[in-house]
């Protein structure tokens, strides 16, 4: 019985496409909303009048809007985001160079958040209404409330400046990754812990768990082997949704720790009004988020034990 799953996957893929198209359209329109001559904006302040004129013709900025968008979309699909208005290098190259740093940070933080959040959530549920539960919930409240850049600065002051355990910023060694990854993971860890706890507490009240207990299985085994698999379902969804917050947090974390990723490039591009770079990074970030949500939805089907596909 593979057909229904196949159909679902295809449908979900088709559903993501208009969103991605919409993202490119939104970015296209936004940059054209900026008052002033778009050719001048895209060429940058350093460009000569000749260059601006050449760009205007090249990008078809003298043509009607729909045609302009079609051209824009065609180049984006071909991986051509134009030249940086500041450095004159292709935007796609700049993105490529920075992409790895951002992915390393985001993936490490997600892994940390899942590991720490799940453990904390399970502990809180297992010791419901005890000091353990209370401590986990307080920590989670802190995690969702703390400004990520301030947490980064505080961790730097403590672990880099005072204790000299890790470097304060920059990149290159695994030790450089520790503080940024922990900082960025804080919010997601808190959300995962809350969700795991809530979901597990609810599952522990269900009939099949009562049956397992009645069979004489120990409480630890009941939680780990029976309840957790069911409780994980909403957690998977929340990890996917968290990825968006994580990308936003990455912009702040990268800036705090001088981490050479896309987020820091985006901030410097905004400061320098380098619109081709801004366009490129925003599209890449949104595309990453859409793809992660797509994968999450598919994973969701995979972990739900109530559904059996072939």
């Amino acid at each position: 019985m593979r057909a229904p799953l196949g159909r679902y996957v295809v449908r979900r893929l088709l559903y993501a496409l208009p969103t991605l198209l919409g993202v490119t359209l939104a970015v296209f329109l936004l940059v054209r909303l900026i008052p002033g001559d778009p050719a001048r904006l895209i060429a940058g302040l350093l460009a000569s009048d000749d260059e601006v004129q050449r760009l205007r013709v090249e990008l078809g900025l003298d043509r009607p809007m729909p045609e302009q968008y079609a051209r824009f979309l065609a180049s984006v699909l071909a991986g051509n985001f134009g030249l940086s208005a500041v450095t004159r290098t292709p935007v796609i190259e700049e993105i490529g160079i920075r992409m790895r740093a951002t992915l390393t940070l985001a993936v490490t933080s997600t892994a940390l958040a899942v590991a720490a959040g799940l453990s904390a959530g399970v502990l809180a549920a297992a010791y419901h209404n005890t000091a353990v539960d209370y401590a986990v919930m307080m920590a989670a409240l802190g995690g969702v409330s703390v400004p990520v850049f301030w947490l980064g600065i505080m961790l730097m002051l403590l672990f880099a400046v005072h204790l000299h355990w890790v470097p304060a910023g920059g990149s290159g060694t695994p030790a450089h990754l520790i503080l940024p990854a922990v900082t960025l993971a804080a919010f997601s860890t808190a959300i995962v812990a809350r969700m795991t706890r809530g979901s597990l507490l609810e599952t522990l009240n269900l009939d099949f768990v009562r049956t397992a207990r009645a069979k004489g299985i120990g409480e630890g085994a009941v939680i780990i082997r029976h309840a957790l698999r069911n409780a994980l379902i909403p957690v998977v969804t929340v990890v996917g949704l968290q990825f968006g917050t994580l990308l936003g947090g990455a912009v702040l974390t990268e800036t705090t720790f001088a981490w050479p990723g896309l987020g820091r490039l985006l901030v410097s591009a905004i400061t320098a009004r380098d619109y081709p770079v801004i366009q490129g990074i925003v599209i890449v970030f949104a595309a990453m988020f859409v793809v992660v949500n797509l994968v999450t939805d598919l994973l969701y089907v995979a972990v739900d034990p109530r559904i059996r596909y072939g």
């Binding site: 993202v23 301030w150 969700m195 901030v267």
Partner: protein, 298 residues
């Protein structure tokens, strides 16, 4: 259960389904106490912000004879790189943060409520178009959306408010649309219609009052989120312009000194942390108090 029904569940519905924690009376009591603590903290911070001009001196008063001084009786939180008193600036910073948070949430409500009601009430093509628009906004991670709008609009208080508000609109549209869809199908709405009530009357007298509870809860949480986003923009140098004492801007402005002078790094951030935590506590408490059946995020 057939796979196709489950599959359609995953599209939208399940995302908003948050499990409610199994809770005891003790649990509820504890929450109410923490919510009260949040309320007290908020009240104190709000009062000191409002009374700032009466209590404190000029937040922009530069004193080159007292640059980067550690906390002392004269300057309880120390001074910054321009010799400005940090306590004065942190307290004045509350005015900016509360103002930005409140305006952004009001703006998001003003846009989100009508769009949500129309989307849910009209249904059909209108609903479809609105929902695709919401999907599009949600395709951008929230902070990134605000950042992108700042890139287009430029920095400054007004643009920060607009950017933060736009990022919050989809939440309200979804919430109000969902409530409208449920209420529209109720028998008493049918009865009201049979008695000759027009759409306008039904929306104003039945639909909106029913959305009030979730809107209040959401807005309380959103106030904290808005302040956090605005502070993030300020930290990046893309929010409120210096020398305005916005908390995030203060951290961004003192970036060079953050690791050498702990008090410059600590206090403005601590203020953001406290305010956001207080809004979260009050929001969670309100949710429990107003709607015990609603899901608990923690």
């Amino acid at each position: 259960m057939s796979p196709s029904t489950r599959a359609s569940d995953t599209d939208k519905g399940v995302r908003s389904t948050i499990p409610s924690a199994g809770r005891s009376a003790w649990d509820r009591l504890r929450r109410r106490r923490t919510a009260a603590a949040g309320l007290v903290v908020l009240g104190m911070l709000l009062a000191s912000s409002l009374a700032a001009p009466l209590l404190m001196g000029d937040p922009d008063a530069v004193d080159f004879a007292a640059v980067l001084q550690s906390p002392s009786p004269a300057h309880p939180l120390g001074t910054d790189q321009l010799g400005r008193d940090l306590l004065t600036r942190v307290i004045y910073g509350g005015r900016i943060s509360f103002l930005i948070g409140a305006l952004a949430v009001l703006l998001a409500l003003a846009a989100g409520i009508p769009v949500g009601v129309i989307s849910g009430y009209a249904g059909g093509t209108v609903d479809l178009l609105v929902q695709r628009g919401v999907d599009l906004l949600l395709a951008f991670p929230g902070f990134l959306l605000a950042l992108t709008l700042i890139a287009v609009l430029g920095v400054g208080v007004t643009n920060v408010v607009v950017s933060v508000a736009v990022a919050a609109i989809p939440v309200y549209v979804r919430l109000v649309r969902g409530a409208t869809l449920v209420i529209r199908e109720q028998t008493y709405i049918e009865a009201a219609r049979a008695l000759g009530a027009g759409d306008r009357a039904i929306i104003l007298r039945h639909v909106l009052p029913n959305c009030l509870t979730p809107l209040i809860v959401q807005s309380t949480l959103q106030l904290g989120a808005a302040i956090l986003t605005a502070a993030g923009l300020g930290f990046l140098g893309l929010g409120v312009r210096p020398p305005t004492p916005e908390w995030g801007t203060m951290l961004g402005e003192g970036q060079t000194y953050l690791l050498s002078y702990w008090f410059i790094a600590t206090f403005p951030g601590l203020a953001i942390f406290l305010v956001v935590m207080a809004f979260n506590l009050v929001g969670d408490g309100l949710r429990d108090a107003l709607d015990p059946r609603a899901g608990a995020r923690g």
